[in-house]
Symmetry: C2
Subunit: 333 residues, 2 copies
């Protein structure tokens, strides 16, 4: 049997190209002692993948040239050499972008049956959900009655951030691209207002919908929107740096720094980054909370599923063009 | 009798010019009910004054055109219409840049006699000292054993930051301009190391003296040094934004944003600004602590005193050129 996989072929310069990846087929791997072989069902496509492709120091090592592209996925155990897992178990873990993956059993997290469809564990109940949870509650110190602004608000993380904000009793304003996404976050997800960054006077719209200013800005995009938000901070505001997707594909990796950062000084405000992996010991707490809101209907999920391993490079590019609508997932099997 | 004063004549474009101020002589003011008339002895010259000259929203309103330039000073009460103050009392407060000032008695803080020479209340025992205290301890969350980097380290605030850092048991590295200032902060103030930003390979020197990276960066300058420090943050580091003197006189008020701000994300680190006025209710705590270190010889003071009210514009310009060595003060009487 064969295992088809996507490997990193070249380090991108600026925007990712389909040619930065190479599709190969290798023999099916066998699990060693303590390991399990998993058949990939779904693979999560995330903005963070762009960072893993750069040869730069970060919170984890870059993907090496010629290595299978790193990804988190959901799959089914085919064979296990560890008593904690058995064939047929549904798990999430480092599938990477391939049909079959072997990893130590402790890297595969067993998922409960019947709670949600498998792909949901890559979205609102998975890393994006937990990123939203720790980012908003711990880093952002969100409080009822405050004004929350979130960018990429129809995206995998942003949509959960806004819904948690509503569950906590905040005024929630989302920034998204296009009328459909803006309508979705207000009508379906219950945001108080949406600002379309692709049309009209964005600054004026932000002022209209955040009349008292911003207490928490949850930033997924960086660039000009970050500067606009900084200019509207309230006293002791918190800016949560979760990502900067507008900057990831810049030529030469040069990032545009926030020119308005002195707003932190005049408002005694804070800008704080985080990596969800640093909260690993508290994942169970986050999953419990997210599953609770999900059951109560306070946390709605939307996935944008692309079918077929062959589609991987094109699907990833849709993410950086802002073309996905909902959590972008690749269906592998 | 006459009261000579410097008024704001024009809003500076880029670097402050002597012609942005106008010297006038007016009649000596009389204190109204509840007010006191103070004869100015010393006036503090601070980087923040540049911000007060811009017609922009900030933590306090700008100085109006034609108004006396705002400044904090030390002086002697000449006449008082409030029982809390009597002629002859030494006070600190809003003298502004003039020979005599009238203000409500509660805006004048009475200073104890015999603790320190009057000018010291504008330096290590005054706003710069308290700025260092709250910035390092509260905002920076400084801890023994950590590495502290401070810019403008021979300046009024930076010198106190480094000395408090040593008193708390930190490894302290200062950035200053020129061999004299670098020698001073190490030999006289007890810093562990100094980096001269005007000579040699600054990045290499920072790496040499902060081999484990930076836990707390106390920033007074902004610009390229801020970016270098961001690139060296340790996990959960704190960047304290106290000022950005390298940026205050930029054409058009455009500030260079920190390109490396995504270091906050990969290191789960924080950048936080503050204004010392927001800690007003805790000033007594800070003064007690600073006076204690001062008595014990752990907090050394150095003032750079320019003699004569006429020298005001030139003296202020020295500050922005980095030509002062120690807390810059104008002697008025």
């Amino acid at each position: 049997m064969e295992n088809r996989q996507w490997r990193l072929h070249a380090r991108p310069k600026g925007m990712v190209q389909a040619g930065d990846f190479e599709k190969v087929a290798v023999a099916l791997p066998s699990p060693g002692p303590g390991e399990a072989l998993v058949k990939t069902q779904y693979v999560s496509l995330d903005p963070a993948m762009r960072g893993w492709m750069n040869d730069a120091k970060s919170y984890i090592p870059p993907v090496g040239l010629g290595e299978v592209m790193r990804a988190i996925g959901v799959g089914t155990v085919v064979a296990s050499n560890d008593p904690s897992l058995a064939a047929g178990d549904l798990v999430t873990g480092p599938t990477n972008v391939q049909e079959y993956a072997v990893a130590p059993a402790k890297q595969w997290q067993k998922l409960p049956a019947g709670v949600a469809p498998p792909e949901r564990w890559l979205g609102v109940l998975g890393m994006p959900g937990m990123t939203a949870y720790f980012g908003l509650i711990d880093v952002g110190q969100a409080k009822a009655g405050e004004t929350l602004l979130v960018s990429a608000a129809a995206g995998a993380v942003g949509a959960v951030v806004g819904q948690i904000g509503k569950a906590l009793g905040m005024r929630v304003v989302g920034i998204a691209g296009g009328a459909d996404k803006c309508k979705y976050i207000v009508d379906e997800l219950g945001f108080d207002a949406a600002v379309d960054y692709k049309s009209g006077d964005v600054r004026a719209a932000l002022k209209e919908h955040c009349p008292k200013g911003i207490d928490v800005y949850f930033d997924n995009v960086g660039g000009e929107l970050l500067d606009m938000a900084l200019a509207m901070l309230r006293r002791r505001a918190r800016v949560v740096i979760c990502g900067a997707i507008s900057q990831y594909n810049n030529e030469g990796g040069v990032v545009s720094g926030p020119k308005n950062y002195m707003s932190l000084l005049i408002n005694s405000a804070r800008m704080e980054g985080f990596v969800v992996f640093h909260f690993a010991e508290r994942y169970p707490e986050a999953v419990m909370a997210l599953a609770g809101w999900y059951r109560e209907g306070k946390l709605k999920a939307r996935e944008d599923i692309v079918d077929g391993l062959d589609q991987f490079p094109d699907a990833l590019l849709r993410l950086f063009r802002g073309e996905n609508f909902g959590k972008l997932i690749l269906k592998v099997a």
